[in-house]
Amino acid sequence: MEKKKAKAVLEAILFTMGDSVEIDRLAAVIEEDKDKTVQLLEEMAADYRKADRGISLTTLDNAVQMCTKSELYEYLIKIAKTPKKFVLTDTLLETLSIIAYKQPITRLEIEKVRGVSCDHAVNRLLEFDLIAEVGRMDAPGRPLLFGTTEQFLRSFGVKSIEDLPELSAVQIEEFKQQAESEVEMQLDI
């Protein structure tokens, strides 16, 4: 499809659908391959970044969704209804972060990390559509496995699970150094 037309079609679809649309489906409509479609979407995103534009594109795994620029929030709340907010307690956030970083994960494994039972938290997160059942573990009793959803990516502004804030290497090192310097102090006592 001619490039300008393709962009117009992509914009029309993303605007109308409101929801996220898989890149594969977009590619099928404009009759281009996936790479070309991604490239067009990137060009559009660059256009949207201009100062006189109010919308932007957000990537969620293999899908794209149109949304407003976050810096315009203060003007939007004057007129639009605030988007659905989740009240996430510490318990829910802790449970969610374990699931996010260790998915797919069973209830028992979550409980091991937190040291407390997690039935209630898991059910709440399922209700919020932030996590979902992703299968069963190939182990005795075939326990359920949980993982995060597209709603999770959207709610936390994460493009894909790989895009989660990196902490492992750096953070662990930091914790360790902290620990070591404290060990030396301890020895004096």
Binding site: C67, L93, K112, R114, G115, V116
Partner: protein, 260 residues
């Protein structure tokens, strides 16, 4: 030694332990187990929870701490590679994993605050598009699933549910369920009094099938004596008590508050 801070709510035993470690400014890899255990026990003594599920989680950790404390006093265990094992190692690992999880949850919270600033749009599909429903290809959807397979899945699901019931603990549950319903017992005794007018206390007790039932029946009788609905006579010490109904029995329900 009392904990000077006001009691906070902790997410669980690991959370409390991390708090104590932070507060004492000690190293997670070298926890002064004696002190921390004391503080930990102090804390759970002050905990004002009656929720046994919550309490037991904290108690399990207390037991772990005491266990570590004991092992610290004994000669060090040596592992297969000939290295001395620190009894605290496992706990340290758990604490680190939990600390990570807390850290990650803060990260997520920050991200959520930013992400909440994006507004989305509801679909506004033209009618002809909206009305279009992709036909479900049932052959593809059902695939090689059959009723027998579905039944098999059902059996598995039900079986899992049964398995989840701990066979020993579920019997504890049963005993609990058999606990006597005070209201029911009151109604029962009232009816008994009304139909018998004068009767032997011993006979009434003999009809009760468990110790708990006997106790509750006895309580109901005591309450009825107190409110003057029945009178009692006893000829000699330890001889049978004869209970006689007063006239207005059953006219208004007994007011008993819960017995537990």
């Amino acid at each position: 030694m009392a904990i000077p801070v006001k009691l906070e709510v902790f997410e669980g035993p690991l959370d409390l332990l991390l708090h104590l470690i932070d507060k004492n400014k000690v190293d997670i890899y070298d926890i002064p187990i004696v002190e921390i255990t004391e503080q930990y026990l102090d804390y759970i003594r002050q905990m004002e929870t009656e929720d046994m599920n919550v309490m037991s989680e904290f108690l399990v950790m207390a037991a772990t701490l005491i266990d570590i404390k004991c092992r610290m006093l004994l000669p060090k265990e040596v592992n297969e590679e000939g290295e001395e094992e620190d009894p605290r190692a496992e706990l340290v690992e758990k604490l680190l994993a939990y600390k990570m999880c807390k850290y990650m949850s803060y990260e997520l919270r920050d991200r959520m605050v930013d992400a909440e600033k994006n507004f989305y749009k509801k679909p506004t599909l033209p009618a002809e598009v909206e009305q279009y429903r992709q036909p479900v290809d049932y052959e593809e959807l059902i695939g090689d699933m059959t009723l027998n397979k579905l039944h098999e899945i059902f059996k598995q699901t039900i079986k899992r549910q049964e398995d989840k019931i701990d066979p020993v603990r579920s019997t504890f549950g049963k005993i609990e369920k058999d606990e006597i319903d005070l209201d029911l017992k009151t109604t029962y005794v009232e009816a008994y009094v009304r139909s018998h007018k004068t009767f032997s206390f011993r006979k009434l007790l003999e009809k009760q099938s468990s110790k708990m039932e006997i106790i509750v029946t006895f309580l109901v009788i005591l309450e009825m004596i107190k409110t003057g609905r029945i009178g009692i006579e006893q000829e000699d010490t330890f001889s049978d008590i004869i209970i006689t109904a007063r006239e207005d029995v059953g006219s208004e329900p007994l007011q008993l508050t819960s017995v537990s």
